[in-house]
């Protein structure tokens, strides 16, 4: 898996051992979405989705130690099996201000590897808070290790540029 930091988010690239239509289904069929959505502490997910431009989805996640979180969004691009784009946000909750929408764009590309039909998924996740952007540009967060060192007092800074990291 490759993680690249951009000025306003992250790009995740990963090859999965399955043909494209299975990846497309995994991202758009709510019954399958709810199997893999959520961090490792997510115990259960209930999803609904209306996959068309302008349609909405809703994911209700039960997270250990946190409770239930609801993520919602709207599809902005639906081009099977090539490209899917949608917004993402928390469902508005009383007493909690909702932040700006984040944007996810997913590209699916056929890859043949070891004679097998595989799929490269390239996912762009935009949503870095504005206040954080200059630091990403200046390379302060070029690597977690470097930033941890910075917090401990060793801190090489660079001129603003994009950082590519192999994970």
């Amino acid at each position: 898996m490759n993680i690249e930091r951009t000025d306003d988010g992250v790009i995740i690239t990963r090859v999965f051992d399955a043909p494209r239509d299975r990846l497309w289904t995994a991202f758009t069929d709510p019954e399958i979405v709810q199997i893999w959505t959520g961090c490792a502490q997510t115990s259960s997910v209930r999803s609904t989705a209306d996959v068309r431009v302008g349609g909405s989805y809703r994911n209700e996640l039960d997270i250990d130690g946190v409770g239930t979180m609801v993520m919602i969004g709207t599809y902005t691009e639906v081009d099977p099996p090539n490209r899917l784009a949608y917004t993402m946000n928390c469902e508005p909750m009383a007493g909690m201000p909702q932040g700006p929408d984040q944007n996810i764009t997913v590209e699916f590309t056929d890859v043949v590897e070891d004679g097998r039909e595989k799929t490269q998924v390239r996912l762009v996740h935009i949503g870095l808070p504005d206040e954080a952007k200059p630091f990403v540009q200046a390379g302060v967060t070029a690597s977690f290790k470097r930033l941890d060192k910075a917090m401990a007092g060793e801190w090489p800074l660079q001129s603003p540029k994009r950082i590519k990291i192999e994970a």
Binding site: M1, I3, R5, G9, V10, I12, R14, F16, D17, A18, P19, D21, R22, L23, T25, A26, D29, E31, I32, I35, W36, T37, G38, C39, A40, V121, L123, H125, G127, L128, P129, D130, E131, A132, K133, P134, F135, V136, Q137, A138, V140, T141, F144, L147, A150, M151, G153, E154, W155, P156, L157, Q158, S159, P160, A167
Partner: protein, 122 residues
Amino acid sequence: MVKQSALLDATFAALSDPTRRGILERLSKGERNVTELARPYRMSLPAVSKHLRVLERAGLIKRSRHGREHHIRVDPQPIQQARDWIALYAEVWQQQFDKLDAYLARTKDAAPGTRHAKKGKS
């Protein structure tokens, strides 16, 4: 209350200068007074103070007075916020993709000619 876009402009301006980045790096090792910060640059105190004001306006440093001296220290909060966001989402996508990988592996033996994944939880 500073408008969000003004603060962002201030932060970009602060970090785009190599002398100011150098000052932040020195401060990352601990609090310094203005004289100590000026020393490596052989810069006049007013010149250093000017840089410090830019950094202060961007919320990157904090100033405290110790008698007649001004002590300067770095404010880690905005950097921590950047790190937190990136760390969080890189980690969440990794965890989700691991689960997706496992799902695809345990459901790949569909009947020949069938191109759709099995539904339901395994």
